[in-house]
Symmetry: C2
Subunit: 206 residues, 2 copies
DNA sequence: ATGATTGGATAGCGATACTCTCTAATACTA
DNA sequence: TAGTATTAGAGAGTATCGCTATCCAATCAT
């Protein structure tokens, strides 16, 4: 399959494919001459993954490159790889100052209340702190009770996800990294729909 | 308070405040002369809300304007307003073709399995369909069982949210619209942290 | 009186994600 | 085998976004 065939099969413009090649998101085809190369199913699959990440997941090309690099070449430490993947996912937050003894007090309190690991090096901790601060700044602070309720429900989800994790380490990393990124839009949509459902029932009761 | 005071109190640059004024995100101050106006707490609060929406929530100025307009002037129909708000939130998806008899089959099946309202006009339905399609395209399809598990956990969350909804309709709209937007990053961060927690325990067990 | 500040308008900037153009080499097509 | 189409590769161009900077005349603070 040549580049135009790949473009046709994937629905991505030739120029865009060349752009992804240049940006290192897509591996080069097998060169058959100075001006030709052939592409196969692996390119098609990769292209679909790229479009999923840059489209519905909403990653920039830069962020997608980071995630894809982790999928291509994960370490053997699932915990560390997951941390790096989450760090590449939006919303990106700056790390706290090095000297701060307690940089993420709200997040720490929430995780302790939930009985979960608190590791200030983990990007999601900074993300949680930023999100809590934003809600508070906007005048809708999140109570500890609510955090507890959220945390418990979401822990159920996470447990479900991890139970289904493949046994093989490489597959496990891919599953975890991509599952984090790809399933988030699903989670958000379902939450919105649950709100809609409850709201509809309330309206009916008026 | 003049514009420089507002800039100082909010931490937003004067030029940026002017930009928000121009873009209609922030209401004008009370003009005291041709070249002066005073701003008050309502401007400060609004500015904080704008920064929360354009920052951690990740909205564009355009999307924030839509959300803010709904908060300022909601209809009295909570359901409809919530729908419009969700439609303004990313990821934005195009509506299906008008003539399609069953435009969102996966989403419909999921919602029916969950016993929830299915309304194809609701933007979150299209978002769910797009998210499911993206996961599938990327090679990590979401099974009906998983959707059911997700849906149930998230419905708990939504029920918790709606129980705490203010009784007064105007406040209810603000709570629902802003709660949808502002709490999403919290939900995502907590999910990521729950994954981290479970992964950490698995690693320990190795 | 004088220097700083303001509202209002316009222009510029840096990043992002493509998209277009070009060239020379090569590959199908009649 | 002549002619047309396609390709790789690289660079430049484009549109949008979210500011940011500059300018002006009016006005304020001292």
């Amino acid at each position: 399959m040549r580049i135009s065939g790949l473009a046709h099969a994937s629905g991505v413009a030739v120029a865009t494919i060349k752009y992804y090649l240049r940006e290192g998101l897509l591996h080069a085809g097998v060169a058959t001459s100075a001006t030709q190369a052939t592409y196969d199913d692996s390119h098609l699959r990769r292209l679909r993954l790229i479009r999923a990440l840059t489209g519905p997941v909403g990653l920039s090309v830069q962020q997608a490159r980071t995630i894809l690099a982790l999928v291509d070449d994960p370490g053997d430490d699932l915990y560390a790889t997951l941390g790096r993947a989450v760090g590449a996912l939006p919303p990106s937050t700056d790390a706290a100052a090095a000297g701060d003894p307690d940089p993420y007090p709200h997040a720490r309190a929430a995780l302790e209340a939930l009985g979960q690991v608190y590791d200030p090096r983990f990007p999601a901790v900074a993300q949680l702190e930023a999100a809590l601060a934003a809600a508070e700044d906007a005048g809708l602070p999140i109570s500890p009770e609510r955090l507890l309720a959220y945390g418990r429900s979401l822990r159920e989800l996470a447990a479900y996800d991890l139970e289904r994790m493949p046994a093989e380490p490489r597959a496990a990393v891919e599953y975890t990294v991509l599952g984090t990124a790809l399933y988030e839009p699903v989670v958000l949509a379902l939450r919105r729909l649950a709100h809609q459902d409850v709201a509809a029932r309330l309206d009916l009761g008026r």
